[in-house]
Symmetry: C2
Subunit: 400 residues, 2 copies
């Protein structure tokens, strides 16, 4: 992988980037998961894959099962109607449908390879990725059973929304009630993902509330940052949780908002999201070693997270998506310059030229911290989604 | 701090080490906490202290309140009857007694500065350090109220022992029941700490079971390592949890076991514990950058813990205690050589010559990862305890 010339001076640059991102998706990432992750005995996917793709642990994490079903469904729909891809999605969906839920329709956090529950449904993001998975599969192969799973799960997410940890919530009620950014953020994306099952009207009734939550509650203009947690009334909480910044989250949320802004033809919103995204990048970029920090404290105090200075794959590829969209939607040359910078860092440091796929976890210096290609949290999701989003976004630009 | 000559060739070397450890305790560590941590308004301690000792967060973590009460009580008893020290212990105990427990006598995980509960009693180690605290205070200033708190808390720990996470346990029952090493390990230490309130007979009835648990269940001779989690029947679980090694835990447990062995005049047990400790050190020592890894996978797979390669203060000072004891109790020259090596790494990398106290968190390379002197997990405990244990252990040797 040679470093590309500064981005983007001509249509030929665009074409070159489109090819790089598209080829990486089709020739490297998807074949890696297709080859290494299927559980041919039980169905579903192994996601704990070592550097070479060998399975080193067989537990199944429902986040990652759902994300992989979603991913292969999406690729079938948007890249090519490849039978092997839909078979992957179907195998995962079948496993999820059989074993994934408790009696109340909540999705377990993890299962054994055979589908026995290991960890209770304490984490609502299992449900978020399950609903995305079944909705995506239903788009390419409509089936009332999948549609029902998608809708039931979505309604359950909304029902659990205000106390989604349920009995596993360790916060003492009343002393310092906080609202967390993750769920409103992901709902911005879910709303669009589920449009064909929820209906345009419901989605459009839903969107303004979510945008307001992200842009007016969690984004604090006086701090110039998106917070991970705020007090119940939306104000800043001077506590570990309240001071926490997760730049990757903020950047990812901004491309969800830009998508919503574009859909609503609200260019002011798109510009706002772009500015917040650029601010976040500038604040969270490691000037010494390059890359984007994982966690920061908005007041500059030591964060609780010992992994705060590590460089994670998803943070960087989400930044690439956000920058490509921001450039395509606004033409701001700062976005092109940042795209080039983040592209260079990401492709040089995360990509494994020898054994395929990308590393997930680098230390602050950019060296490999864990040689795995997949694990409990890294699966077949952020990288393929980003490669597709970037190539499609640039392809749209190239058409103009 | 100049690097000392290779340890320990003569009695003068011993004397020099004794002075170094004792002076660091009395002139650096204890004054730092005495000056910076008291909450003069509400009682109790602030533990989130930045590099200079300034309070950057006022939440109170019950682990650390209990540990600090214990620490100042112990110092009063074993170092000097310093009124300021007992006042510290009393202030913490008063705060804990007033605000620390729920209606069932379980200790909260954290409180606000004023004592309002923030995080529920999901973590039994809050209780472990509370019982240690009140027992230690009762040793220096006997009081039936404190004695009762110590005993009630201890009984409650035993009652909760088999499912101490209670309603916060996210493990699905039955699929993969695991036993965790932390509680048996800490009970080895607690039993001795509480002897004057529990009585010699009860403690001695208790000890063999704990030793068996640590040395025959969690220590696996075929792996040469102490595991953090085993299956219910004591066998190895080939899962993330089952493969997990926490070398600091294993090393700390081995000095608890050596103390028990010495008390029981069981030299075979002392020798066994020494060998396990040396094995652990050899396995977990970072040959490239020095220092002891925080987490490892016994099969060499990538651990889940992103902080796995970091160098933590408590791991290193516990190793110093274990090595000093092992050398004192067995005379094995490998222990002296290792003591010298770990001493050098620890004092050069963790100690802050400029602002006092020691850093807690270094990256793999030995650079400061977080400049804090105290936080949510680092308080006034491991360092002062280790300085006292090492100096006392060597002082005993010097007498011979």
């Amino acid at each position: 992988m040679t470093t590309p010339a500064p981005f983007i001076t001509a249509k030929t640059d665009l074409e070159r980037y489109i090819a790089i991102y598209r080829n990486e998706l089709v020739d490297n990432i998807l074949p890696f998961w297709l080859k290494n992750s299927p559980d041919k005995v039980n169905g579903g996917f192994f996601t704990c894959l070592d550097r070479e793709g060998k399975v080193f642990d067989t537990d199944k994490f429902m986040w990652l099962q759902g994300r992989q079903v979603w991913c292969f469904s999406l690729m079938y729909q948007h890249v090519a109607p490849n039978q092997a891809w839909i078979n992957m999605a179907l195998s995962g969906a079948d496993f999820m449908q059989k074993y994934g839920r408790d009696d109340f329709g909540n999705w377990y956090f993890s299962l054994t390879a055979e589908g026995k529950p290991l960890v209770q449904p304490y984490n609502i993001f299992s449900d978020c990725f399950a609903t995305m998975a079944f909705a995506a599969l239903d788009r390419i192969q409509p089936d009332p059973v999948w549609q029902k799973i998608a809708i039931d799960t979505f309604e359950n997410i909304l029902n659990r929304r205000d106390n989604w940890k349920g009995v596993y919530n360790k916060t003492y009620p009343g002393t310092r009630p906080l609202r967390n950014f993750s769920l409103p953020m992901i709902l911005c994306n879910l709303a669009l993902e589920l449009e064909h099952v929820l209906g345009k009207e419901r989605v459009e009734a839903f969107i303004p509330e979510l945008i307001k939550e992200v842009m007016e509650v969690f984004y604090k203009p006086e701090l110039g940052q998106v917070l991970e947690n705020v007090q119940e009334d939306g104000t800043f909480s001077d506590s570990f949780e309240g001071r926490l910044l997760n730049p990757g989250h903020a950047i990812e949320a901004m491309w969800f908002i830009m998508d919503l802004g574009k859909r609503m033809q609200d260019q002011v919103l798109v510009e706002q999201a772009k500015e917040i995204m650029l601010n976040t990048l500038e604040f969270a970029w490691d000037e010494e070693y390059g890359g984007i920090y994982y966690f920061l404290d908005v007041k500059g105090y030591p964060p609780q997270q010992l992994e705060w200075d590590q460089k994670l794959w998803w943070v960087h590829v989400e930044a690439l998506v956000a920058l490509a969209k921001a450039f395509a939607f606004t033409g701001d040359p700062r976005c092109a310059a940042w795209f080039h910078k983040v592209h260079k860092y990401t492709w040089i440091n995360f990509r494994d030229e020898e054994f395929g796929e990308w590393y997930g976890y680098l230390n602050r210096q950019g060296e490999v911290l864990l040689p795995l290609k997949g694990g409990k949290w890294k699966g077949c999701f952020h990288i393929p989604r980003a490669l597709l989003q970037v190539s499609n976004t640039l392809a749209e630009m190239a058409k103009v």
